[in-house]
């Protein structure tokens, strides 16, 4: 896998994630993710170890751009929940990729929805745990879970667009070379 191309695409997707809110549905804060389809695409195409490291990197970047409002008129950053969520979501895709048609656009759509849902559940679980021991964050687990699951569904829309773009970019990722290697 060409890591430079991956980093450039992830950088662009992260810029969209933190800058493009025109698709956000208000009220409810339901918004699609631009990064998760990249994660799923890598998990579908790259060797497992590369995919897992890429997931950790993307998840950590999502954590570092997540500004969490605190109860005491301040903000905080937590590194871990998105990274671990991305790791588990990638593991899910890795276990399913033998059973799907990798190049079909709907594969990316469906797996992006599933991965975003898994990430949402993991993030909500960690943040709920934090609230239990009294961290000064205002977090409503039920509301957040609902929002994240709806956002996961909405991510299907961006995944469809990414499916076309990534298909065109596929030669740049140099996955053909990886295909000859053993996957483990």
């Amino acid at each position: 896998m060409n890591w430079i191309v991956f980093l450039v695409v992830s950088w662009f997707a992260l810029g969209l994630e933190v800058g493009f809110d025109a698709l956000r549905l208000a009220p409810g804060d339901v918004a699609p993710s631009f990064v998760i389809p990249i994660l799923v695409y890598i998990a579908l195409s790259a060797p497992a170890k590369h995919a897992l490291w890429a997931a950790l990197l993307i998840g950590a970047l999502l954590d570092l751009t997540w500004i969490i409002p605190r109860d005491d008129l301040a903000e905080a950053t937590v590194i871990g929940p998105n990274a671990l969520g991305a790791l588990i979501a990638t593991q899910l895709v890795l276990s399913l990729r033998g059973m799907v048609i990798r190049k079909h656009p709907l594969t990316l759509v469906v797996l992006s929805i599933a991965s975003a849902s898994v990430m949402g559940v993991v993030v909500v679980a960690f943040m709920t745990l934090r609230e239990l021991y009294g961290d000064p964050i205002d977090f409503s687990p039920t509301g957040e879970l609902g929002t994240r699951l709806l956002s996961a569904l909405y991510t299907g829309a961006t995944a469809l667009v990414w499916a076309v773009v990534l298909r065109l970019m596929e030669p740049m990722f140099l996955f053909q070379h990886d295909r000859g290697m053993r996957r483990h």
């Binding site: 950088w11 662009f12 992260l14 810029g15 969209l16 994630e17 933190v18 800058g19 493009f20 809110d21 025109a22 956000r24 208000a26 009220p27 804060d29 339901v30 918004a31 990064v35 170890k49 897992l52 490291w53 950790l56 950590a60 970047l61 999502l62 570092l64 751009t65 997540w66 500004i67 969490i68 409002p69 605190r70 109860d71 008129l73 301040a74 903000e75 905080a76 950053t77 937590v78 590194i79 871990g80 929940p81 998105n82 990274a83 671990l84 790791l87 960690f126 745990l129 934090r130 021991y133 961290d135 000064p136 964050i137 205002d138 957040e144 929002t147 956002s151």
Partner: protein, 313 residues
């Protein structure tokens, strides 16, 4: 499988070690995680070149308000009108306070008539990656004199929010409509001149509005309760900030206009109001904000340094 056994231990255990580390940081209390702010600043600097133009494009596609901005000259006149009205309200509020103090034979009036501020217009360069967080990243930081609790406004006298953290080149702003921003003390202007007002406490609803109780004055003895209910409390009436917990540079700025009034059948002297920022502004989606930085002796030197924003107004 044999190949794995020959891997360097550092490589073999790097993934599990990273996962364990992430689990630890995921559950570590926030007070021990403040060091991450520096790393976040670095990531933010890397992401900004792509997020900044995307924010601009996004705001062009979906602006904060569907009401078009007027011409430059009209906008200046509207701004001046609103600013003078705000100053008038401040003067009136101070006058009332002075009269009260004189009446109470209090001495030592020391409150400054107004607070000198430097205004910097700065672009919003990004949001949080999580859509449920409404905090905004703004391109002005310590270098421009911004400090924690610096007040932000938009479109003249519309109060926008408060800076909750500040780096050298950028800061994070929490709009007043975010649930975490807490209660706001307000004053409902029952007439345009601001002579007759009612106090209220407003709490953000999380949907871009604020909700709060307004209590009418107790009617004089022998007067029906219905007569005490002021019919002027209706949609469209302006609500301004009057909260000692906020900096002086924010007082009497507009919180918004009343969108809805609900009467309480059980408590006729109390009504619930819903307030929305002027022009239906969505404070999360503004393109730029005005930072009002108080000028005092301590910050004078910082103000002399080159500003990081688009320049003072």
């Amino acid at each position: 499988m044999a190949r794995h056994n020959h891997q360097h231990p550092l490589l073999r255990y790097s993934m599990p070690a990273t996962v364990v580390l992430l689990v630890i940081t995921s559950v570590t209390p926030l007070r021990h995680m403040e060091w991450i702010g520096g790393v976040r600043g670095l990531v933010s600097t890397v992401v900004t070149p792509i997020s900044d133009p995307i924010v601009w494009f996004s705001r062009w596609l979906a602006p904060a308000s569907r009401i078009a901005e007027p011409e430059e000259s009209t906008r200046e006149l509207i701004h001046d009108r609103d600013e003078f009205r705000r100053r008038l309200n401040i003067a009136k509020a101070q006058n009332t306070e002075l009269l009260t103090r004189i009446a109470d034979l209090e001495a030592g009036f020391s409150r400054a008539p107004d607070v000198a501020v430097k205004q910097i217009t700065s672009r919003v360069i990004g949001m949080s990656s999580d859509p449920s967080s409404g905090l905004l990243r703004v391109r002005a930081g310590r270098r421009s004199g911004v400090t924690q609790n610096t007040v932000t406004t938009v479109r003249g006298v519309q109060l926008h929010g408060q800076v909750v953290s500040v780096d050298r080149l950028e800061c994070v702003v929490m709009p007043i409509t975010e649930p975490e921003s807490g209660l706001l003390g307000g004053r409902v202007l029952l007439d345009r001149a601001g002579d007759d007002t009612l106090s209220c406490q407003l709490a953000p609803t999380g949907t871009g509005t604020l909700r709060g109780d307004v209590e009418f004055r107790n009617p004089p003895a022998g007067t029906a309760i219905e007569d005490a209910i002021d019919a002027r409390l209706k949609p469209g009436v302006e609500v301004v900030l009057d909260d000692p917990a906020w900096p002086a540079s924010a007082q009497m700025f507009t919180i918004g206009l009343i969108e809805r009034v609900e009467r309480d059948a059980d408590q006729p002297l109390r009504s619930v109001i819903y307030v929305r920022p002027k022009d239906g502004l969505d404070l999360r989606r503004v393109r730029e904000v005005v930072l009002r930085i108080p000028i005092d002796d301590d910050s004078a030197s910082a103000a002399d340094e080159p500003a990081g924003g688009e320049g003072p107004e």
